[in-house]
Symmetry: C2
Subunit: 231 residues, 2 copies
DNA sequence: ACCTGAACACCGTTCAAGT
DNA sequence: ACCTGAACACCGTTCAAGT
């Protein structure tokens, strides 16, 4: 069989075909496997067909790689937002897109929940949110703090969901069944409210909670605008 | 010098003085050191004056230990809430207390942000929040989903702040300075909103954001009550 | 200039052996 | 019944050596 370089591009001895982009794309492939495949430097080396430590020629450390990967996924979120929406629609679309991407790449969503990438696509997200809160009627310091509220809340929401996806199946099952097990068995005298709502508590879905949390952000902005207009 | 057993209670050869409570208290001492001292099984062994693996006689694994430690800290939060507050006051006090405790034991606050302890003090917190949203005027499924919104949002807020405290000093500094560095230097044409608000963005404090996020939860509940009354 | 691979300094957890 | 300590199967990262 003759050599066919095109189909052996990732063979171990192909020279210096390692680029930041190739490393980011390999990272996304691993991240997409969720809890089935740990996102480690050694696993990344396998995926690239290179020595695990080769990535240190292109990224200072794993943290810097993750920030770059996260910024790439923010690009996917931005591309999913349609044109022409009003401020509420843009925040809802940003929330839905962020959730979808965080659940697709849980290790990225989880790790980045309390970070700032300081990279181009994050700038675009910030620009979008500030535009929305200003269109809603906030300005100056009020717009700034409400932007931060929205931005960090969205990161927190999707980060929580993503982190949960990364737990071992047994831990996840134990947490998920709490509302239909432990919380149904609490002492009725000591915990009357829980007892009274036990059925409804077990029926709440993650999707309902997410929607209510996003609407809470919007309500809070509207209420703040009304309060400031009234004063 | 004569033996004085009372003062050598934690000596290496004192027999079986290891109890779940002693392990939880040692865990809290390590957790209180924040990013200066990693919360590892080996470090816990040192703190207890025992072999690192001794804790596996009392807890199935590190996760179960952390759940127990977390429930202990929830007790501290509950003890900090005064009697006689109305529903808004109780949510504000719960938020403030949770933040304080999460910043005191960051590794606990960070790890538990997407978990359910399913332990006694968590039941008390759930009872408190459900009582608050019902006093606000919500019932049944509406009360259930709004309880979940409040509970998970508070966990997310304090978890984000706690996680940030655990990063290495240089990573934390880079994230904190983003608003006064990278975000001040963005292209004014491409990012007019960021440019317009750059001063205000750099001046927002974590405390302001936290307060706005807590008030947003309260606003959202009030708005939902109004909407349901109107319908 | 970039990649390799041995090595270092860590992790959580298991299990046979001690007392 | 509980604790010990060696051992296992991992981590991220460094650095001298290769090409």
């Amino acid at each position: 069989m003759p050599k066919s370089p095109a189909t052996t591009a990732r063979s171990k001895r192909a020279g210096s075909q390692l680029t930041p982009d190739a490393i980011i794309e390999a990272s996304l492939r691993i991240a997409a496997r969720g809890s089935e495949d740990a996102f480690t430097v050694r696993r990344l080396g396998e995926e690239l067909g290179a020595d695990p430590t080769a990535i240190y020629r292109h990224f200072r450390d794993k943290d810097e790689l993750l920030l770059s990967v996260a910024d790439r996924t923010l690009g996917e979120v931005l591309d999913s937002i349609p044109e022409g929406l009003d401020w509420k629609g843009r925040i809802r679309a940003l929330a839905a897109g962020s959730l979808e991407v965080a659940l697709r790449y849980p290790v990225v969503g989880s790790t980045m929940a309390s970070r700032t990438t300081r990279r181009p696509n994050e700038f675009r997200v910030v620009e979008l949110i500030i535009g929305a809160v200003m269109e809603a009627g906030l300005q100056g310091a009020e717009a700034a703090v409400h932007y931060r509220m929205v931005g960090e809340s969205l990161l927190a929401f999707v980060g929580q969901r993503a982190a949960h996806l990364l737990f071992d199946a047994d831990i996840r099952a134990a947490d998920e069944s709490a509302w239909s097990r432990e919380y149904r068995l609490v002492d009725a005298q000591a915990f009357p409210n829980i007892t009274h709502l036990s059925t409804e508590l077990a029926e709440v879905t993650d999707e309902q909670i997410f929607q209510v949390r996003v609407e809470a952000l919007i309500s809070a902005i509207e209420k703040r605008v009304e309060t400031l207009r009234g004063a």
